[in-house]
Point group: C2
Chain length 232, copies 2
DNA sequence: TCAAGTTATCGACTGGTAGACGAAAACCAA
DNA sequence: TTGGTTTTCGTCTACCAGTCGATAACTTGA
């Protein structure tokens, strides 16, 4: 049978966040420099201990409030829970990671010990945080293809060129402007605002301005290759 | 600042499993009848407390061993972590749920307090286990469409008709035998064994026998509508 | 004012894939 | 031999994404 009385205390639990944004064509993650051991001075994901009575998401938002304005978080979803006993060198610590997205148009001021780092060229990181950060990137990339999660990275309105730059930075490869517009329009994820943006100094045709349709994310969170019959 | 000393003990953590199989054309989940309060006598997902030094997956396999032969589990992946303080009426309990799949050809004997229940017609369940079970079903349905996760539900070899029955039960809707074969063959997920199965008493053409190709699940775990250019 | 350059948008072509359907194959039973 | 059953295969069609080139709408500079 399983032991009923735990000799040591129950495992501590923490919530961590992979907060991503696109800036200057680069996908960045919010990291902070640890101020205590272990891994003193190393880069780490923001987050912290779960306190009694809190949900994980609430705890995460509380810890995050010290780093960024939580109102700037356009999207937050659970990633995975890590439980390897050796992931923390000193104590038992279970971590539940979340993926958070910050739109391109907000630039939250962050404390001095906090910085945006490129996800494709991460510095040395504490614990297993590097793996978690990369898992967050992969989740974003997968979901960009079949959901409207892109709205969480984009400003309220944008041109196709601007959106294309966002997708290129997040996906890590180029996307065709023609296909991006057609695919998103056909799926009713995008709608034109009717406005246009004046061209830059080099000239060029004014770009039409679009916005993401106000559809529920959950609605478009599904994709099926084998669709049910008669649904068309 | 956040409180450093926890007045009450840290939250207890449990691992739960949504173990699914297809039997007689019905998608079933493994449940057991609780033998103690709260929810005494109600149906619950198998699982139990995480003990010191265990990973979540190891803990789950240990608890599951009392219910089914763990070697019969063809697939196990993490689903989600639930942390609502009110999900357990008496104490603080965080649950990490997993999705497990049992192939159709094995029929593990289960203890008397354990039973397979239809996922589409669940009995009243303890805690939030009903939500978790349905989340497991949705994960399976989504992944059936774009991964080779179906191999974990299928016997080592099978005819297209048998596989079609499996998919119909799991997906909840009919699938065309023609398309099922063509789609899976084209993606190299399926390969013919060269054998045929003799027809039943009513006659009919002998069915060709297939098996899932021995590709790594992780390899086929990706799908992209917006593919990178030049990859063809 | 006009030509050249620039950027955005659109239409057309192509290839690939899935759903539907019916024909053909391979068996059984009467 | 005929009719029924099940499986398998080919074909037709629709849809969708990737590519490419034409066109639109603007700029600057001569």
């Amino acid at each position: 049978m399983t032991p009923k009385s735990t000799t040591e205390a129950d495992a501590a639990h923490e919530a961590l966040a992979v907060v991503l944004r696109v800036r200057d064509g680069v996908l960045q993650v919010l990291l902070w420099e640890r101020a205590r051991r272990p891994f003193l001075g190393a880069w780490a994901l923001p987050g912290g201990r779960l306190e009694p009575g809190e949900t994980l998401e609430r705890s995460l938002r509380r810890h995050l409030a010290a780093k960024v304005d939580v109102r700037d978080l356009a999207h937050l979803e659970q990633l995975e829970t890590r439980s390897d006993p050796r992931r923390h060198p000193a104590r038992r610590m279970i971590a539940t990671a979340y993926l958070g997205l910050v739109p391109a148009h907000v630039d939250p001021s962050v404390p001095g010990d906090t910085a945006w780092q490129p996800v494709d060229d991460l510095p040395a990181m504490a614990f297993d945080h590097r793996d978690i950060a990369l898992a967050g990137r992969e989740r974003l990339r997968a979901k960009l293809s079949y959901t409207n999660i892109g709205f969480a990275l984009a400003p309220p309105s944008f041109t196709i060129s601007e959106l294309r730059a966002l997708y290129r930075a997040a996906l890590g490869h180029d996307v065709s402007a023609t296909n991006l517009q057609r695919v998103l329009l056909r799926r009713r994820l995008l709608e034109p605002t009717g406005e246009t943006r004046p061209p830059g100094r080099a000239g060029g045709r004014p770009a039409a301005v679009f916005r993401f349709a106000a559809t529920d994310l959950a609605v478009t969170d599904q994709f099926a290759v084998l669709r049910p019959p008669d649904v068309r």
